[in-house]
Each structure stands twice: as structure tokens, then as C-alpha cells.
């Protein structure tokens, strides 16, 4: 975006154009009692030299995943990003988050989204994928709005306590003014026990939401959950980890109706506050209820293959009050990165990546288990993330580990007050054997003090 000047001459020209004498006169309609009668409390402008120094100082106080060894997870992971992702996504033809309003003018972008949708369908085993939502949290919330559009006579939403707590907050916000009630099902053993779900699910249940692997890293009993949903006519919504599908069953295989995910792990860097990538896929019978954009393939008048935005007649900008969702845009650039990442890895690369995560996470868990006073919080199978229990409060130990150069894990007390002593630790394929061994040793030191 170019720099827009606002000189006194510009101001004069603008005021003349609208027939007002001064800025004071322009604002005279604003009641006196609400007007700010002093300058804004901001520091005076810096020179360019000063500004660059200031920004460098701010940047220097960051401790990124490249500065320290990163074992953080909880939805954002330090996976390897092949150089080809930046090379393709950085091309100027692609380098914008927006498709123009006449989307069909951008055939290259539409083809990329179409391929992204195809890859997500292949990955998840679902029939239809949209061309992305904002992030995992908004994707989860949108999945419930979508379920509400499918079954408007049911109002009970069941969500496992092991679903990402921030995704559940996003969901609460989205449905606050809808005739839906949200019931959180406790997961004291680190997963939703199907017996507990059996007691809670009834003919009023709109949908059941689980995350698999869940926020604690544990696997859920997705097949049992799926059967219980099927028996009650409730929709089964699953939040999955895309990388895990290199070795775990696909949502389509265990009967998910709507599958959503945070797509950061697919070629997108860890960024505080995003932007991230919301993945959403569903079964074909729900295609008219899926929010956001769908790209379809067709032929032009000369019989050549081309791409269009399809099912547009249902979108909110055409039928605002009837649309199930008011999502207006997508994460085109991040969807493109995910498409390039998945294409570069291929099925075999994804399987190898998933397997490395699995092996390395289990190797670290074994090391941690040997540390006196430390144990695994849950006796459940896990993928690349697991929850450890420390002898005392997690915060202090994590601070000491940060000083030693490790983003050591996520303290779970922030979301689960009874888990003040618990930390979730994620291990990606990027972590080396040496790093993991040194990390275990650092834990012993940090706990000994």
C-alpha cells in the first residue's frame, strides 16, 4: 500500500470539496462533552534512525522458536518448512491474501485453492473441503453453526473438556446469541470416556465435538464416539492434527461428519496471534451448508478446463440473512502454503514426518519418566504431544528452562486450574536426538534447584 499524504494543502482541498471551512467546523456536530480537549497521549515522532533502533530493540526481546529449542505445542508447532513453500508462495502472482471480487479473473489462485481442497479431501478422507477459514478456533465455531444449519431442531452441543480451551472459548462467543446450549464433558482420564458420552448424549444432541489427538496429546476413542453419534442422529465433529494423519486413521474412515483443523503445521510459521489457517471438510450431503468459499472445476466456452467459485448463491454476500455463516474471506496465502507443503511431502513424506514426531515424542517421554518426581499425567496412547506432571508448580521450572534456552512446554494451569503442576510438551521432526537428550538433562537441573 502506498503512503498517503495528509498535508495542510490536502486538508484544505478536501474541506473545500465538501464545503466546510475548517476541521473545527467539520467536527462541530460532535457534542462538546464527548470531545477530547487535549492532544492524544502518544510520544513525539522518532527520526528514521531512532525508529529503526527502537524496532530492532523490540524485535531483540523476542525469543522465537529459532532462538531457543522449541517443545511448545497446543495448536502451534515447530514443524519443518521446506524452502519450496516460500519459493512458490512468495511469487508476486500469489502474494496477496485476497482474491479479487471478480474471483474468476484470478485463475491461478483459484486453481491453487482447488488443489488445496483436493489435497485436504485426500488427507482427511472427507468428500468436500472449503478453501479455508481463519484458524482452528474459528473453524470449530463455524462447524457448530454449520451443524445448526443442518439440524435446526436440535440445540444441545456436547464438547469434550480435552478440546483446545481457546477453541471452546471461540465457540462460546460465536453461539452466545443462538438457541444452542453448550455442555462440556469432563475428561479426568485425559480423553472422553465413551461411557460418559453415552450418558450425556440424547435425542436433543445436535453434535459432539472431540479433538483427536486432543489438547493433552492423548488419542480419543473416535470410533466409539462416532457410533454413539450415529445411533442418536447427532453430528460428529472432529478437530484433527493434519500431521497425525500420516499414521492415524482419517476422519472420513471413522465416520466424522465435519472435520476441522488448525493448518499452521502445514508449511506455516509459528506466529504469535496468527494469521493461521482454518481447515474444514465435510461429507457431501452437507455441501450446501459448508461456510466460506468453494472452488469448482468446469470448462469455459472454448471447452478448456477452468475454475470458478461455486455454490456462490448461498454465500452471505448474496443472501446475508439466510446464510449459515457470515465468514467473508479466507486464508488464501496460508491455504496455498499448505497445498505446496502437502504436495512437496507427498503421502510418503507425510508418513515419515508423522513417524518421526511419534518416535521422538515417545523417546522424550521415556527420558522424562525416568526423572525422579516426574511422571506422565495420563496413561493413554499419544502422538507427538504428551502431558507430564511435575512435583511442584510448573511455571517456575519452565522459567528456569527458558533461561537455559528451551521453550520447554505449555503450563496447563492457565486453562485447567487443577493442573497447575502439569505441562504439555510437543516434539516435532525438527528436534534432534542431541537436543532431546540435552533437554532431559536440563529438566533434571531445573527441577533440582
Amino acid at each position: 500500500m502506498s503512503y498517503v499524504l495528509n498535508t495542510p494543502a490536502d486538508q484544505k482541498a478536501m474541506l473545500e470539496a465538501i464545503g466546510v471551512g475548517s476541521i473545527e467546523e467539520l467536527f462541530s456536530l460532535v457534542p462538546d462533552r464527548v470531545r477530547l480537549k487535549r492532544p492524544l497521549a502518544i510520544a513525539p515522532a522518532l527520526s528514521e534512525i531512532e525508529l529503526q533502533l527502537h524496532m530492532a530493540e523490540l524485535v531483540g526481546s523476542n525469543r522465537s522458536a529459532d532462538d531457543d529449542v522449541c517443545f511448545l505445542g497446543g495448536g502451534s508447532y515447530d514443524h519443518f518448512i521446506p524452502a519450496v513453500v516460500d519459493a512458490v508462495a512468495g511469487r508476486s502472482e500469489f502474494y496477496t491474501a485476497y482474491t479479487p471480487y471478480q474471483a474468476e479473473a484470478s485463475q491461478g489462485s483459484l486453481q491453487a485453492f482447488f488443489e488445496y481442497q483436493t489435497l485436504i479431501c485426500q488427507l482427511t478422507g472427507m468428500d468436500v473441503a472449503n478453501a479455508s477459514l481463519y484458524d482452528g478456533g474459528s473453524a470449530l465455531a463455524e462447524s457448530v453453526l454449520m451443524a445448526h444449519g443442518i439440524h435446526d431442531k436440535r440445540g444441545k452441543v456436547l464438547v469434550a473438556d480435552s478440546v483446545h480451551p481457546e477453541y471452546r472459548l471461540a465457540l462460546q462467543t460465536y453461539i452466545a446469541n443462538l438457541p444452542l446450549s453448550l455442555q462440556v464433558l469432563p475428561t479426568p482420564d485425559g480423553y472422553l470416556n465413551p461411557d460418559d458420552l453415552r450418558k450425556a448424549i440424547d435425542d436433543e444432541t445436535l453434535c459432539v465435538i472431540v479433538q483427536h489427538p486432543n489438547f493433552f496429546g492423548c488419542l480419543e476413542e473416535v470410533e466409539a464416539v462416532s457410533e454413539l453419534c450415529r445411533a442418536r442422529g447427532s453430528l460428529f465433529v472432529v478437530s484433527f492434527d493434519p500431521i497425525s494423519l500420516g499414521i492415524l486413521k482419517r476422519p472420513g474412515q471413522y465416520g466424522a461428519d465435519i472435520a476441522i483443523a488448525e493448518g499452521q503445521c502445514l508449511g506455516n510459521p509459528m506466529v504469535y496471534g496468527g494469521p493461521y489457517l482454518g481447515i474444514m471438510a465435510c461429507r457431501e450431503e452437507f455441501v450446501r451448508k459448508i461456510p466460506g468459499r468453494l472452488v469448482g472445476q468446469t470448462t469455459d466456452r472454448n471447452g478448456k478446463r477452468c475454475w470458478v467459485l461455486t455454490l456462490q448463491t448461498r454465500e452471505q454476500h448474496i443472501r446475508r440473512e439466510k446464510a449459515t455463516s457470515n465468514i467473508c474471506t479466507n486464508q488464501g496465502l496460508f491455504a496455498l502454503r499448505a497445498a505446496v507443503y502437502l504436495t512437496a511431502l507427498g503421502p510418503q513424506g507425510l508418513r515419515e514426518t508423522a513417524n518421526l514426531c511419534l518416535q521422538k515424542a515417545h523417546y522424550l517421554a521415556e527420558q522424562m519418566r525416568k526423572i525422579p518426581g516426574v511422571g506422565l499425567q495420563f496413561d493413554r496412547p499419544f502422538f507427538k504431544e504428551f502431558t507430564v506432571k511435575l512435583p511442584g508448580r510448573a511455571r517456575e521450572t519452565l522459567d528456569r528452562l527458558l533461561q537455559a534456552g528451551y521453550h520447554a512446554g505449555l503450563p496447563l494451569g492457565r486453562w485447567y486450574p487443577h493442573m497447575e503442576n502439569c505441562v504439555s510438551i510437543a516434539v516435532t521432526e525438527r528436534r534432534t536426538r542431541q537436543e532431546i537428550d540435552a533437554f532431559s538433562a536440563a529438566w533434571i537441573q531445573a527441577l533440582a534447584r
Binding site: 431442531k153 450446501r288 448463491t313 448461498r314 448474496i318 443472501r319 439466510k322
Partner: protein, 127 residues
């Protein structure tokens, strides 16, 4: 179908009252305007519908339009065949393309709707 027996809405639905049962569909003119119909969403049997309120949707390659009920009442039948394949709506809008049957509230009348003659006058004047 004898079109003289039907009554017509400005929104291009037709209605046929037999006893207290009101059958509803859309007109030949509406079908021609919509071009290729691709999808129809109908209410469930047992749902209540209200005169002037939407009871469903029809989607063509050009637009999605609401379908409006001519009377208050309860849906007693829907043409389930249309949900899988909406072609009968285009091919035979007054016959196999019927959409729903409503058990109308006692005293419901179609007095305010147009006769065939009035409706044809409306559409020929561009409506």
C-alpha cells in the same frame, strides 16, 4: 391440471385447496425464470408453516429463492422425490413438481391470491 382451479401468489407459488388440504408448488413462469433448478430444500412433515413466511428454498444455477406458504397450517406431506432430483419441478410444475401439502388452519382461504387470469396479467406486465 386445470389451472383455473389454482390460485397464484405474486411470488410465483401456486396453491390448490381441496377440503382443508392445500398443495403448493411454483409456476411455469417461475421455472422459466430460474432456468436450471439444481436443489430444493423442503420442510419436514409436522412442521408448522405460516402464510407469507418461507417454507423452503429453491436453488438454480442463477439464484437461491425462498418459497412462501400461502396459508397457516401444518405440513402433512412433502414431495421427497424432488430432494434427490428436482427435474420434475422444471418438467411438470403443476403436476409431479408439487412441493408440499399443508393441512390448513380452519377457515383458511385463498381469496387474496390471484386467479390464473390475474396472474397472467401480472407476468405479462413484467412482474
Amino acid at each position: 391440471m386445470d389451472l383455473k382451479k389454482l390460485r397464484f401468489a405474486p411470488t410465483h407459488e401456486w396453491a390448490l385447496m381441496e377440503g382443508d388440504t392445500c398443495t403448493v408448488g411454483i409456476t411455469q413462469f417461475a421455472v422459466e425464470q430460474l432456468t436450471d433448478v439444481v436443489y430444493i430444500e423442503l420442510p419436514d412433515v409436522g412442521d408448522n408453516v405460516f402464510a407469507g413466511d418461507s417454507f423452503g428454498e429453491i436453488e438454480s444455477v442463477k439464484a437461491v429463492s425462498d418459497l412462501y406458504s400461502p396459508v397457516n397450517g401444518e405440513v402433512i406431506a412433502i414431495n421427497t422425490a424432488l430432494v434427490n432430483d428436482p427435474t420434475p419441478v422444471s418438467k411438470d410444475p403443476y403436476g409431479k413438481g408439487w412441493m408440499i401439502k399443508i393441512k390448513a388452519e380452519p377457515g383458511s382461504k385463498l381469496d387474496k391470491m390471484m386467479t390464473q387470469e390475474q396472474y397472467e396479467k401480472q407476468i405479462s406486465s413484467g412482474g
